[in-house]
Each structure stands twice: as structure tokens, then as C-alpha cells.
């Protein structure tokens, strides 16, 4: 996975509360068998009209924001469905960092598997950053967002930070624990034999 270190880019403000994963990527685009190509369907139902034409009033259709690599959003971003198609669509569009006051749990976890940074900042900071003309810088090593003379810091669990900075493959990391998994399974067979599945449905 591509590591995430420091990102400087245009930040698109979409300051709604409770932006759910249905809104980020509607169900008709979940029928894909691959991870790529979802960027043009990102926010499809508010980005395009019923005939598929761009809505000029939608932020990602407006000139500087068409090239946005940062999204500024309201609280509880990514609530609803577990679909990883949501971070896939954001990433395919070109978004690498989402700044919001809070995130839904499953979406938050899904971001790290895809090299996306979900950074938590207070709503006032988001609103301030939304007024900045020109690019913002998201500095992961320093855990800072800078722009327009403002600097805001964000918290991030060290383990999550390492995954992004080093572009770690979680499965490969877990494979270092294969001995622990084998031992756990052996204990479990003894202590909770009813959990072994002998009967197929």
C-alpha cells in the first residue's frame, strides 16, 4: 500500500452532518468485482442530476475542488453501511485525507486499509479551514493540518499512524502471529470443543 506522509492539496468543504456511506457511494455501484474505478460515482446522487449531468452547485463539480485531495466534513462522517466501496471511491477520486469532527467506526477502520487518513478536528477548526483560500497541508508525522496561517493538531493512535506512514499490509503483520493463532486454536479445541463445526448446514 502507498504510504501516507505529508499531503498538500485543495480541500473541498462538504460540511454536512451524518454523511452516510449510501451517499458516498450508492448501492448501484456496489456490483463491481474490483476496487478501482469508483471515483466517478463518488457522491453520485448529489453530484449528478437524474440524467447524469453534473450539478453545478455541488462542491466537487466546481473548479478548484475538482482536483481536491482533502475533504472537510461534518460530524459522524461515513455512518451506515460497512461498504469499503466508500473509501475506494474517495481514493479513486483523488481524496487522501478526510478531516471531520468524528467518524463512524467501520468507515474509520476501512480508511487505514486503503492509505486514507481520517483526521479528527473540532468543528470550529473544520469551519476555519473551509475559509482558507489555497491548499492545505496535512502533515502526518507532525499530526498537523496547516493552511492560511492556521495550524491545528490532531490525535492519532500510534499503531494507526504507523500503518499509514509505512504503508503496512495488515495481513502480513498478522502472519507474524501465526504461532499464537495456532496455539489459540489448540487451546480452544480443548476448552470449548462445541465451537468446532462438525455439521455443515
Amino acid at each position: 500500500m502507498e504510504p501516507f506522509t505529508t499531503l498538500t492539496g485543495i480541500a473541498a468543504p462538504l460540511l454536512r452532518t451524518n454523511i452516510d456511506t449510501d451517499l458516498i457511494i450508492p448501492k448501484q455501484f456496489l456490483k463491481t468485482l474490483v476496487r478501482s474505478g469508483l471515483g466517478r460515482h463518488l457522491f453520485s446522487e448529489i453530484r449528478y442530476d437524474a440524467d447524469g449531468r453534473e450539478r453545478p452547485d455541488f462542491v466537487l463539480n466546481q473548479p478548484p475542488y475538482r482536483a481536491a485531495s482533502i475533504l472537510l466534513a461534518g460530524p459522524n462522517f461515513g455512518c451506515g453501511s460497512s461498504r469499503e466501496h466508500a473509501p475506494w471511491a474517495l481514493k479513486d477520486f483523488g481524496i487522501r485525507a478526510i478531516l471531520a469532527p468524528s467518524f463512524a467506526d467501520i468507515f474509520f477502520t476501512n480508511c487505514f486499509a486503503n492509505g486514507l487518513l481520517p483526521a479528527v478536528l473540532p468543528m470550529e477548526a473544520i469551519e476555519t479551514l473551509a475559509t482558507v483560500k489555497g491548499p492545505l497541508t496535512v502533515d502526518l508525522p507532525a499530526q498537523q493540518v496547516r493552511g492560511g496561517g492556521h495550524t491545528f493538531t490532531f490525535d492519532l493512535e500510534p499503531a494507526r499512524k504507523a500503518v499509514l506512514l509505512e504503508g503496512l499490509d495488515e495481513i502480513k503483520r498478522t502472519e507474524a502471529n501465526l504461532g499464537d493463532i495456532d496455539a489459540f486454536e489448540a487451546r480452544r479445541r480443548l476448552n470449548a470443543p462445541w465451537l468446532e463445526i462438525h455439521t455443515q448446514p
Binding site: 456496489l30 446522487e45 437524474a50 453501511s81 467501520i106 498478522t174 462445541w194 455439521t199 448446514p201
Partner: protein
């Protein structure tokens, strides 16, 4: 020993390793797989040439994309068909147990798991679907995951996890007649909001929960995710054990006895502390109806559409204005005066036999209101067969409902069951998000009885006025 919550106990029982950075590796006992969130996970496994660690810890079934009409003729929509075929190819290649489309046991993963006895107390259960929280009804730690995590479980039977906080919900008092688990869930989400449970596992307690059947508990835990919690839990009791005994994949004989002894110990210790507590008196609750585009925007059947002018913040006012515009509703409108064009009864929330009985009791001897389209979609083939054995299909058909084959159907409309733009629907499903049931569709979440009452009257009606038959 430090007193522990039920969640703490299940967590401790599944801890494989704690890494130097503090993350924990949690063992996963059961994995449910469906066609929408698994193709890329199998692809990843194949590309990395990794074996699948425990094929028989998986139960797979196609549900999101499947037609609910004329299924025996195959899937007409090519993209849907390809995704179902991809699942069939993958499960065959990796030797994963699969319930085929035309098998009587096919259905929505969260209906099928419990029905087959795949879901057991004290286990960890995951699925690439947020409504995996349903299985918490059995006292299992069950949560939805993304596709990368699905791949991780396929490869290692574990997940790196951070421990959540403990949240206890205490429902005080007994639920009035005519109300059920859906009303409990919606009232709770109305209270705490859709982010109220974020970062927590919710344990549901109180006499109203103990009085629920297993199916009611599944409805309640199913909606945990709509309150922001990845998991909901109900401690197992005799109701749980009676439901489980004899199901195909439940342990038998000596193993049943051993399991039962363990399951009886699965409850939060008296002195256990919870990080967050919520108490809700339900003794005077009335049937719940959502009016907005988030499950937290809910009132009861006697209520009105609220006025955004009364919102406590500018952000809330903006959000409410947007929701009312999308929903085509005016502030102050009586909920009972809202007319409907569609009704959907089904989904992993309310697609089980008791849900269908509740709806049929209202539909019996009545007719669907003129011009209204009403769909009943059983949660599984076994639910459908049971309903037909009880004559519920004939009640629905005589009243003018459509009787369909099992699947997720119009809850999210990945198959052909979608609402047209602007159509207003009373739905027993779990999400009323913009576009959820079709682009521009307007969803109101209700219980099965309330959905049936709306179908036969054409507008929201207190189901208690229609109880006792025509």
C-alpha cells in the same frame, strides 16, 4: 477478580495476542460471507497466493443482489448475476459451505445464520455487512467489517482490534401491547442519536428486553449500528437456549451440555462498570415513525413533523431543513396525516416469521389502500415456507400485498426492487438515508405492524387501533 461486562468476557476469551503497539489480535469464530463485499477479498487472497485458513468457519449465501420474483429463471440483471456467480466460483474454489440460490435455506445472511444454528452465544462473528450486529441477540460479539478485513479473516481467522467502551442500555418498565423491538430500537436511537454509540458495544438490559423473543432481540441488536455501535449484546437466557436447541449446526448431546454450562455464565457481573449508561422508560412508549433521512429523526404516531426553527443549533437547523425538503414534508404535519405510496415489509431487521405474523394479523380481512404498492419479502426460504404453512401468504395476497422470494430486496434496492423518485414508503427496514431505497425515494422506518396498518389505511395509523382483526 475484577468484575467484567459480558463484552469484556467475550473479548478476553478471544484474545490471541497483544502487540507491542497495544493493538489486540482477536480470534474470529464465525464468518458470514455474501456476494457484495467478498469478491475483492477473495481476489486479494488469490493474488497473494494465501490459503483460506478455516473454510468451515464460514457460511456463505447470496442475498443483496438476488431477484425476489421468478428466481428459478435465473438472474436477468447481468451485473447482479456476475456477482452471484463470482461468489459461487470463489466458495467452490476454496471449499466454503454455501447455501445455493434455489435452496430453501437461502436468505439474508443475518436471518440464515441464527436459523441454521451457525450463530452461538459467546462467539465472535463477523461479516462484511454492518447489520452483523443482529447476532448479538445471542450474546455473541458480532460486528460488521470492510472487505479488507474480510480478506484478513479469510487468511488468518483473526482481526486486529481496539477494545471498545462498554455502554449499558437499561429499558425501564414493560413495553405496552402492540409495541415491539423495532419501537424500542427507534426510541433509543431517537434519544442517543446515530453517533450515540460510536466507539461502544451496547448491552441491552431490563425487563422489556428479557420479555422479547429471540426474533425481537435480533431486531433490537440489528439496529445497534444505527445508533453508532458496531455491536449490541443481549445476555443469553432460557429463551436463547430454547431457540438454539435442535438447530442443524448447534452442538448436540455431550457438547450441548458443555456448551450450555458455559453459556449460562455469559452475563455481565453485578459489580461490572460501564463507561456509559443510558436509561429509557418504555412503559408509555407509542409506536415509532421516522420523519427524516436519519434513523435518529423519529417521533411517535401521535406526533408531528418538527419545525427546524426550533432546532438547537444552526447546523441542526440546516440538516433538518435539508431532510424535510428531501422528504417533501412540512413542519407541523401530523404523522397520521402523511400519505404513503408504498410499503415494504422484510429485511434483516424485520423479515422473520414473527414479523410476518404481526403484519398479517393487521392485513387479515383488509385491503391495501388504492394505488398503494405493498411488498412482503420473507427473510429466508425457511421463513417463507413457514409463513405459507400458516397461510400468511394467502392473507397477504388476498389483501393485495405482493408475496416475494427471500432476499435483502427493497431495503437497499440492489436488485430490481426499488422505489421511484419521490415515492413515499413505510418500511420495516433499518435505514431511511437519502436514496436508500432508490434515487429520490422517501423512507419512513416503522415496525411490521405499523407498516401493515399504513398499507391498509394509506397513511400512518396507530396499529393498536387495528389490532384484534377486521
Amino acid at each position: 477478580m475484577t468484575p467484567r461486562t459480558l463484552y469484556d468476557k467475550i473479548w478476553d476469551d478471544h484474545l490471541v495476542a497483544t502487540r507491542a503497539d497495544g493493538t489486540c489480535l482477536l480470534y474470529i469464530d464465525r464468518h458470514l460471507v455474501h456476494e457484495v463485499t467478498s469478491p475483492q477479498a477473495f481476489e486479494g487472497l488469490r493474488e497473494a497466493r494465501r490459503p483460506l485458513r478455516r473454510p468451515n468457519a464460514i457460511l456463505s449465501v447470496a442475498d443483496h443482489n438476488v431477484p425476489t420474483l421468478n428466481r428459478e429463471k435465473g438472474i436477468a440483471d447481468e451485473t447482479c448475476r456476475l456477482q452471484v456467480e463470482e461468489l459461487e466460483t470463489n466458495v467452490k474454489a476454496y471449499g466454503v459451505p454455501y447455501l445455493p440460490l434455489l435452496d430453501d435455506r437461502q436468505g439474508i445472511v443475518h436471518v440464515v445464520g441464527p436459523e441454521q444454528g451457525f450463530t452461538l452465544p459467546g462467539t465472535t462473528i463477523v461479516c462484511g455487512d454492518s447489520h452483523t450486529s443482529t447476532h448479538g441477540a445471542f450474546g455473541a460479539l458480532a460486528f460488521g467489517i470492510g472487505t479488507s478485513e474480510v480478506e484478513h479473516v479469510l487468511a488468518t481467522q483473526t482481526l486486529p482490534q481496539r477494545k471498545s467502551r462498554n455502554l449499558r442500555v437499561r429499558f425501564l418498565g414493560a413495553l405496552p401491547p402492540g409495541l415491539g423491538a423495532k419501537d424500542l430500537a427507534l426510541a433509543l436511537i431517537g434519544r442517543i442519536g446515530t453517533a450515540g454509540g460510536t466507539g461502544h458495544v451496547m448491552e441491552f438490559t431490563g425487563p422489556a428486553v428479557r420479555a422479547l423473543s429471540m426474533e425481537g432481540r435480533m431486531t433490537l441488536c440489528n439496529m445497534s449500528i444505527e445508533g453508532g455501535a458496531r455491536s449490541g449484546l443481549v445476555a443469553p437466557d432460557d429463551v436463547t437456549f430454547a431457540y438454539l436447541e435442535g438447530r442443524p449446526m448447534v452442538p448436540k448431546d455431550d457438547l450441548w451440555d458443555a456448551a450450555l454450562t458455559h453459556w449460562q455464565s455469559l452475563r455481565s457481573d453485578e459489580a461490572a462498570t460501564f463507561d456509559t449508561e443510558v436509561a429509557l422508560d418504555v412503559s408509555a412508549l407509542a409506536p415509532q415513525v421516522t420523519w427524516g433521512t436519519s434513523p435518529q429523526w423519529v417521533t411517535d404516531i401521535g406526533g408531528r413533523v418538527p419545525d427546524p426553527a426550533e432546532a438547537t443549533s444552526a447546523d441542526d437547523r440546516q440538516a433538518m431543513l435539508r431532510a424535510l425538503d428531501y422528504m417533501g414534508l412540512k413542519p407541523g404535519t401530523l404523522i397520521q396525516d402523511i400519505a404513503l405510496q408504498a410499503v415494504f415489509i422484510g429485511s434483516c431487521t424485520n423479515g422473520r416469521i414473527e414479523d410476518l405474523r404481526e403484519a398479517a394479523a393487521v392485513a387479515k380481512g383488509r385491503k391495501v389502500a388504492p394505488g398503494l404498492r405493498a411488498l412482503v419479502v420473507p427473510g429466508s426460504g425457511l421463513v417463507k415456507r413457514q409463513a405459507e404453512a400458516e397461510g400468511l401468504d394467502r392473507i397477504f395476497l388476498a389483501a393485495g400485498f405482493e408475496w416475494r422470494q427471500p432476499g435483502c430486496s427493497m431495503c437497499l434496492g440492489m436488485n430490481d426492487d426499488r422505489l421511484e423518485e419521490g415515492v413515499r414508503c413505510a418500511s420495516t427496514s433499518n435505514r431511511n438515508f437519502e436514496g436508500r431505497q432508490g434515487r429520490g425515494s422517501r423512507t419512513h422506518l416503522v415496525s411490521p405492524g405499523m407498516a401493515a396498518a399504513a398499507a391498509v389505511t394509506g397513511h400512518f395509523t396507530d396499529v393498536r387501533q387495528l389490532m384484534g382483526g377486521q
